[in-house]
């Protein structure tokens, strides 16, 4: 299992380097598989409780860590999810908001498929590029 950012990178390579040759529908199918897996991983990282979900997602979205005793960051607060998942899982799980955003972009591209293949592919590439550039801005990524 690989972190979402790498899946995104690989997907970007796949979509952008084969733009002219493939139907957009094939690219969409590829993206659906990436997103299905990433969505499931994001769900799995949740405890189902609003406390842990809120802390995890907020810190992931802003690239911050938990406040410690004196306001400094601590690496792993004891009340946070323990690493019950496979190694390499956590970075994928933290990408819930990005998965959600990319899903919306993929669905936007889906609406174009069959009508304007180039626009469909361009929408996918743009969405991936935006997310990847956002990834680069994330501290520690």
């Amino acid at each position: 299992m690989i972190p979402f950012r790498f899946a995104l990178g690989a997907a970007f390579v796949a979509v952008s380097t084969t733009m002219a040759a493939a139907d957009c529908a094939e690219h969409l199918a590829l993206m659906d598989e990436v997103l299905d897996q990433a969505s499931r991983e994001s769900i799995a990282a949740s405890s189902g409780g609003q406390g842990v979900a809120g802390a995890r997602e907020a810190r992931a979205m802003t690239g911050t860590e938990a406040p410690g005793n004196d306001g400094t960051a601590t690496d792993t607060p004891p009340d946070e999810p323990q690493p019950t998942q496979a190694p390499g899982h956590a970075p994928v799980a933290e990408a819930g908001d990005r998965v959600q955003t990319l899903r919306a972009k993929v669905d936007e591209a889906r609406a174009l498929a069959g009508q304007d293949e180039a626009a469909c592919r361009e929408t996918l590439v743009t969405g991936l590029r935006e997310l990847l550039s956002g990834e680069e801005e994330q501290p520690g990524s």
């Binding site: 299992m1 690989i2 972190p3 790498f6 899946a7 990178g9 690989a10 997907a11 390579v13 796949a14 380097t17 040759a21 094939e26 590829l30 598989e33 990436v34 990433a38 969505s39 499931r40 994001s42 769900i43 799995a44 990282a45 949740s46 405890s47 189902g48 409780g49 609003q50 406390g51 979900a53 809120g54 802390a55 997602e57 907020a58 810190r59 979205m61 911050t64 938990a66 406040p67 005793n69 306001g71 607060p77 004891p78 009340d79 999810p81 323990q82 019950t84 998942q85 496979a86 190694p87 390499g88 819930g96 908001d97 998965v99 959600q100 899903r103 919306a104 972009k105 936007e108 609406a111």
Partner: protein, 761 residues
């Protein structure tokens, strides 16, 4: 697939292949990691779950069974329900079962955060297994004692017996021997079939804490006592992020009984669950502490949120909800294009104010420090978080902090945040470890809550010729809970959006959901059912508005818009939370949603003739993996006064472990939801919450509560089905059902909560 031959779909997923391009991304090392199955729900919780009977069950020589419950009891009956699950599999006599409350210790007990409507969802099966394991251990002990095969030993209703020899023993007789035995492997346990349940699923078990509650012997946070205990109240900054710049400690010290005045530093922002800071007055009794606080004459510096004003912020949220620059969080079809060409277009905006959880028991905690250890008694929903945060504050290891969890006089999410317990620990330290109880007054509670967010929900739809929606746009603008955890994320988190927005299951071809930015100016926290409240209110109100526009019966229209029974993978809707549950095991099942609507409307006599200014209103909502529908019967008199003579509520939450408690939770939800609809709100001016007590923050009382509440339990026969939540899902559809009924009765559409005096003009 020729074009993708260099990067197969699978390869992208696993990071394999793709040659040099992928090598440059550094994937090969990750590809070495073995793929492991994902865990969901209970399996994926922090510290997971436990089912070792030695943790949860003890049996005295006299046969008394004590079940240790690690979830917090706040009226939802979890201490009873967990004991029922264990006692049933243990084959214990319910009259000989007692419960004890676990201290904070997640490494031992598993997750203890009592939130998310998941205590039974996550622990029903582990607790059954613990009971079954203990029963087998007792049988093995008896077989050993009697030198007979274990298969021939029967455990039934607290008695072990061997038919062939006629031998019998009580559980207490074999308990010590059983405790020495091995705990049977989980996979060897055989759980009872539902037709053999003694307690699970029965309506008449009762609440195990009832005797203590009705006789006044039950211990809540406010009841905790210790010898030599001092009492403290805290004057907290009236504006979040503010601080005291001066105060008159001398004046406070002149009040007889006041022992000490202590400054508590305001926390850095975001403050998570840390105390707000302020000035504490410690005294020999609560009254003296309160009078001392009154004398402090504090001058406050308000900080950046000193201009927070609810009316101005409402306008800001409306502006945000009308803007097109929000993040797109769901985009199915092309809603924008469809809306642009609409002949029949409907739009509406809904406003949902801040709310305070306002549990009947305000926050209270007692702490003392002795010999390098801190001991706390507190009414907390999150004991382990309480333990860890206190340990951090005191510079102790978590193991040196003991958190005793009392009963909670209501929680609703407020008591998930242990700021009040941290205050007690800090003040005890100031008093050289003496026991200090921090008492919050009702004013304190309403002024310094972790409030339910405030939101504007904007919806637009295009209707086809039949009046059915073919395009749907929903923008939600609200400060996020994430603002207490990170530097103001400005947008709702995926778990908030997954509460009825992104996972909205209506059968509409073009759906778009957007989330514009909104800044938090106070502490935002979770409140029973969380973001489902605004989402359900807006969506269920809007559907009623569309039905009216289409000239169709609301019930028929709602069922039409939900569409045929189908199971939807929530991830395909863009939901990346799904209440933490496996999307395959917990799809969004529109058939179950339809069934609760059909049940509740039939029970309420939907469609019958009603007197003038009296009508039925309907709403339904899926949340916490359960399905709920409500019909409210409302009458509105000529002065605009609203009464709710009858309400019907139907829930499908999977198996009904404790039906009496499900009914109780639904009844409570109807009452709480009627308060949200008609009377409750927190407003801010100059950064300060304006409501002081129940005079200005009214909640339903006996004269205003719905007079009859009929609960209908749907499904529940199949124990092979996964459990849904119960504590929270009843609430979201109540308010829109009432508002829809008001419209049906008066023709006035309420889009701003609460109703207040909007009908009297």
């Amino acid at each position: 697939m020729a074009a993708l031959e260099n990067v197969s779909r699978r390869a992208v997923l696993l990071g394999l292949g793709a040659g040099a391009l992928v090598l440059s991304l550094g994937l090969p090392s990750l590809a070495q990691e073995p793929e492991e199955p994902l865990k969901f729900g209970a399996d994926a919780m922090p510290n997971g779950w436990r089912d070792d009977p030695r943790i949860f069950i003890s049996i005295d020589p006299d046969g008394t069974v004590t079940v240790t419950v690690h979830r917090s009891e706040m009226g939802q009956g979890v201490r009873t329900s967990i004991a029922m699950a264990i006692a049933d599999e243990l084959e214990a006599d319910w009259n000989r079962v007692r419960v004890a409350q676990a201290q904070a210790d997640e490494p031992t007990f598993g997750n203890q955060d009592t939130d998310g409507s998941r205590s039974l969802r996550h622990f029903f099966e582990p607790m059954r297994r613990a009971g079954a394991a203990a029963r087998l251990m007792l049988r093995e002990a008896a077989a050993d004692e009697w030198s007979v095969p274990v298969e021939e030993v029967v455990a039934e209703n607290h008695v072990l017996s061997h038919a062939a020899s006629g031998k019998q023993a009580g559980y207490g007789d074999m308990a010590a021997r059983a405790a020495e035995g091995e705990v049977p492997a989980r996979e060897t346990l055989v759980l009872k079939s539902p037709d053999r349940f003694r307690y699970i699923g029965r309506e008449d078990v009762g609440l195990i804490d009832n005797p203590g509650i009705v006789t006044g012997t039950a211990i809540y946070g406010m009841d905790a006592k210790a010898e030599g205990m001092l009492f403290a109240v805290v004057a907290r900054p009236p504006v979040v992020g503010g601080r005291a710049v001066s105060h008159d400690a001398e004046a406070a010290m002149k009040v007889p009984g006041v022992q000490r005045v202590v400054m508590i530093d305001p926390p850095p922002q975001p403050s998570e669950f840390q105390p707000l800071g302020g000035v504490a007055v410690i005294a020999t009794n609560t009254w003296a502490a309160m009078r001392g606080r009154d004398a402090l004459n504090i001058r406050w510096e308000d900080g950046p949120h000193g201009t927070y004003d609810s009316e101005a912020f409402k306008a800001e949220l409306e502006q945000a909800a009308r803007s097109t620059d929000g993040t797109v969080v769901r985009n199915q079809g092309d809603a924008l294009a469809a809306l642009q060409t609409a002949q029949r277009r409907v739009e509406a905006e809904y406003y949902i104010p801040h709310l305070a959880q306002a549990p009947m028991e305000a926050p209270a905690a007692l702490a003392m420090i002795r010999d390098g250890r801190c001991e706390v008694w507190a009414c907390v929903q999150a004991p382990q978080v309480t333990r860890v945060r206190i340990a951090e504050k005191l510079g102790l290891p978590p193991e040196a902090v003991t958190v005793n969890v009392t009963l909670l006089g209501g929680g609703f999410g407020r008591k998930s945040k242990p700021d009040f317990a941290i205050e007690a620990a800090l003040l005890s330290r100031e008093m050289d470890g003496a026991p200090v109880k921090v008492v919050w007054t009702r004013d304190d509670d309403l002024h310094h809550s972790f409030y339910h967010t405030v939101s504007v929900e904007r919806l637009e739809a295009r209707l086809d010729d039949s009046g059915r929606p073919v395009a749907w746009l929903h923008r939600t603008a609200a400060p996020t809970i994430g603002s207490i955890f990170a530097p103001d994320p400005m947008q709702k988190l995926p778990f908030e959006l997954g509460m009825g927005l992104t996972n909205m299951p209506l059968d509409i071809p073009n759906v778009r959901a957007e989330n514009p930015k909104a800044q938090a100016h106070t502490r935002i926290g979770w409140y029973r059912s969380v973001s489902n409240i605004p989402h359900a209110f807006a969506i269920q109100s809007f559907i009623a508005e569309l039905a009216h526009e289409a000239g169709r019966d609301h019930r028929d229209y709602l069922l039409d818009v939900i569409g045929p029974a189908r199971k939807i993978d929530p991830t395909e809707l863009g939901d990346v939370w799904n209440y933490g549950e496996d999307p395959a095991r917990y799809p969004v099942d529109t058939g179950r949603l339809r069934r609760v609507i059909e049940t509740v409307t039939e029970a309420a006599g939907w469609g019958r003739d009603m007197p003038a200014r009296r009508a039925l209103g309907l709403a339904a909502h899926y949340s916490f993996v359960s399905y709920v529908a409500v019909v409210a019967e409302v009458e509105v008199d000529e002065t605009g006064e609203v009464r709710i003579p009858v309400a019907h509520i139907a829930i499908d939450c999977g198996p009904h472990v404790n039906p009496d408690r499900i009914r109780s939770q639904m009844e409570g939800a109807v009452i709480m939801g009627s308060g949200q609809a008609l009377m409750s709100q927190i407003t801010f001016a100059q950064g300060r919450a304006q409501q002081n007590n129940f005079d200005s923050y009214p909640v339903p009382r006996m004269d205003t509560a719905p007079r009859e509440i009929h609960v209908h339990l749907v499904g529940g026969e199949d124990y092979g089905q996964p459990l849904g939540g119960v504590g929270e899902p009843g609430l979201p559809p109540v308010t829109p059902a009432i508002i829809n009924a008001i419209f049906a009765a008066t023709g006035q559409r309420i889009r701003r909560l609460p109703v207040g005096n909007q009908l009297s003009s």
